[in-house]
Symmetry: C2
Subunit: 576 residues, 2 copies
Amino acid sequence: MTATDHHLLLRALIDEFVRCGMRHACTSPGSRNTPIVITLARESALRTWSHIDERSSGFFALGAAKASGRPVAVTCTSGTAAANLLPAVIEARHAGVPLILLTADRPPELRDIGAGQTIDQLKLYGDAVKWFFELGVHGASAERLRWVRELACRAYWTALDGTPGPVHINVALQEPLILEGPLPDSEPGGGGRPGGAPWTAHSHPAPANHDPQPLQLERAVLVAGDLGVETSDGGHGGPTLGSRLARLAAQARLPLLADPLSGARSGPAAIAHWDLILRDPQTAAALRPAVVYRFGETPTSKPLRAWLDALDVPQVQVLADARWSDPVSRATTRVVGPVAAFLERFTPLADQSDWLDRWTRADSAVAHAIAEPLLPAGLSEPAVVTALAQFLPSTATLFVAASMPIRDVEEFFPALNDPPRVLANRGANGIDGTVACAFGVAATTTEPVVLLTGDVTLAHDIGSLLAARRTGLKLTIVLLNNDGGGIFNFLAVAGESDVFEPQIATPTGLDFSLAAALYGLDHQLVSDLDAFAGSLIAALRSERSTIIEVRTERVANRELHARVAASALTALAATR
Amino acid sequence: MTATDHHLLLRALIDEFVRCGMRHACTSPGSRNTPIVITLARESALRTWSHIDERSSGFFALGAAKASGRPVAVTCTSGTAAANLLPAVIEARHAGVPLILLTADRPPELRDIGAGQTIDQLKLYGDAVKWFFELGVHGASAERLRWVRELACRAYWTALDGTPGPVHINVALQEPLILEGPLPDSEPGGGGRPGGAPWTAHSHPAPANHDPQPLQLERAVLVAGDLGVETSDGGHGGPTLGSRLARLAAQARLPLLADPLSGARSGPAAIAHWDLILRDPQTAAALRPAVVYRFGETPTSKPLRAWLDALDVPQVQVLADARWSDPVSRATTRVVGPVAAFLERFTPLADQSDWLDRWTRADSAVAHAIAEPLLPAGLSEPAVVTALAQFLPSTATLFVAASMPIRDVEEFFPALNDPPRVLANRGANGIDGTVACAFGVAATTTEPVVLLTGDVTLAHDIGSLLAARRTGLKLTIVLLNNDGGGIFNFLAVAGESDVFEPQIATPTGLDFSLAAALYGLDHQLVSDLDAFAGSLIAALRSERSTIIEVRTERVANRELHARVAASALTALAATR
């Protein structure tokens, strides 16, 4: 094979991705993958983001694909470079995020004989990808170019179809890798379908197989978790669907227990503080529904899950695709099909008596009860969440790290009329790649992106801060620094005093102002709410990335959460 | 299952690992894996190293296992945490390094239903592990405890047997995870074999199937690459074997082309500069051997590989195990069996005429020719390699990063009478995890450990510098900072000016003194050889980890390498 063959075939592959709708690609340096990197970088319709660490690259692509709903290409060189993508690939599969992995490989004659940077890349990601294809080595004939264009469309379509997810194309490349002269503009066979349309790339909506009977809506409760990626082809998920759900719940006067990740925690029917409400057995019993409609993923909240688990009423799970996702194992019916079509069956009820009002009274009682212990505690971790709800514009995206931040957002983020978009990695709920993922979101929007994270998560992915320097993207990082994994103080392991701090809490002792200096971010250490609000507003206006650091204490944080829960219980008792 | 069941079973498993010879374990924080972490940390015979980032943990374990020749345990929590181990697992498989991966998992009833931090961990590492076992959930009966002890021995033995490598035990854990009271000292069934011996853990040497005929030794050349891990059970590889090979080569008066990684670049028969010698076609022709004996992996050097490829003489590959590893595809015979036994067949020849002398004359001519362009260039990248050879004590370990450092060490490191141990990741030759791996080496020795690395490699694994702060281990990092991937300036892609710097060379612009400050290392920026030597000697004596930074320029570095090669060619011409 000549270098011209490689470059023509890769240009056709990537041209077709662009015709299908691709807008972003991630690259990492290497030798074997230079033809792929060069082709991506020279495609003017793509923004190409370079990352030194392939793990960062994978998560950056995940964030960009999650936020844009379009497949993002990721390329890396051969060897363990490709293995570094696995965490992001698994998260993408579980979260339903479309990615197209283009791993460079040595050709068969250089495999499995001890050649450098050569591992077995065939099916490297196992079941975590929706489709694997070994591209092989080909001359750039008109037939092969046409075939590779169809293959590109198929990869793009497979990444988006049904439940979106990652696909993997392994690209064997023989030397020479670099062109000796310019690549001809024209392509044997003419360069794809006339008019520029992609060869084939139409997602077909799955037929809804739901029951045509009218829905039972009296004393119904709606529960909405993460609704998945809002795909660019008018797919099923995301905040557009969430706000529609919120509007319909308000019209039908049905309480909507909405995770902020659903985009549905808004409007008069949204119940924000169910995590606290449902801890009170008497209130939970009084608010027992006749039926539950569950949308998207099940929220994290243990009280919610315990409540669902104990309810002996029909629970209808409404799913865009056939994923089997019910950690509570209590869904009595699964309705699979376009969720938006299902929502059309929600008709306003003439009389719901005071069903919604009873929920909203409990919710506002708890909202007031939260404020009482929070106010004297100053700039606590929950207070940061409520301040973000107050000061973030509705055009912003809040990317929330796993572990404590996602739980605090679920517990404390209020219902807003026009909430910011809230995103998180809830496929496998890992803390890995969080910084990279948030930068990936920032690649797709000119509006502010704020990352809410703890210190262990930031330390885990600290190398991804390099994106601030190398991509020029702007991210505001709100760092809750309690010097360790704060969630572990809530678990029984906190009593194992010989191992707890060194092995479980794992305080890093890092001075994050130095991390900010290293990677060229601004850094603000704030210690009261006014300073936090001021720094946040300044950071959102700034041209530069900023770390706004809030120092808290893990034990005090656990105690504050306990006081909040006690205050909520007292308030709920008073409303009975 | 009760927490007592988990803890008894895990204590038996790990007790048996220790009986087999395990001394080190790596942990990462999490909830599901707390029983494993607690059991490892409470086993007094183990040193347990905590890492926030599982990728760092895997590579740290790889370094400790490579340096000690003993399997190292690695545990992590469920979900993508386990996926972060893949790069180190693949490197361990290719480099023949024994690891035992203990991934915590949710039990079957919590899998594949959307529960948090749950992915499919069965066979997660595919063919990269030698053995996968799903442990299941068990009550701690005497029978099961005996079974788990045998299983531990089998895992340990499998990791070491034949070609060492990683094994994976997936550990499902049900709640509750934490003990309510102390674990009983005694164990149902008595706690393993009386006297403390492990159940079964004997590696058997593979029978040597070599030809019993006397070896052809006239005009033989010996080539020694990385000889693999020197296992604690008297295994096949490592510097002990390398120095034996060097002694035998000297006795037999046979030129020994030894990679520093072999430990055999020492004594009067060692040829150090074959990379430069073999670039001269006339010298290469004049030094044509009658037979080549190749030990271990094939060195990286392209001139060496081209020379082996073109030789039409018998090439005997001597391998400790049945790995098929010949990137040149020119071995005419493979002799599989204990290498040490094979070496006993090397008998000193009465007369080798001047065969060795002709090689050593060329080698010393090149050694002098190298010095000529190097001296006026001051503190260049090659000069750092020669200075390390000069100032490192023989008890030290030099860990060499992939990419340029390993090639410069191969080209410029002289033959020494008593060389330091030289280690590198040459399984898949990745740059990932290099810092963690060097810290892992430091965990196994009280002697100095020096890492030679470029800036891209350090930036790729920068989070692993946290080990300096959290483990207290001491590492001296010699950083060749040419602000980008220096090796790429040697490749054709350097001419692709639109993409070269942003996508291939990828300069980070990082000020590594800030990285040192962040992670609590000392930092010295040196600009001449005397300052380098002084800083190196001071760092070796210091109690703290140090980054000694040498700034170079990529284009100047390539030109210097070209001048060195030209000078060597001139010198070789003069010796003819």
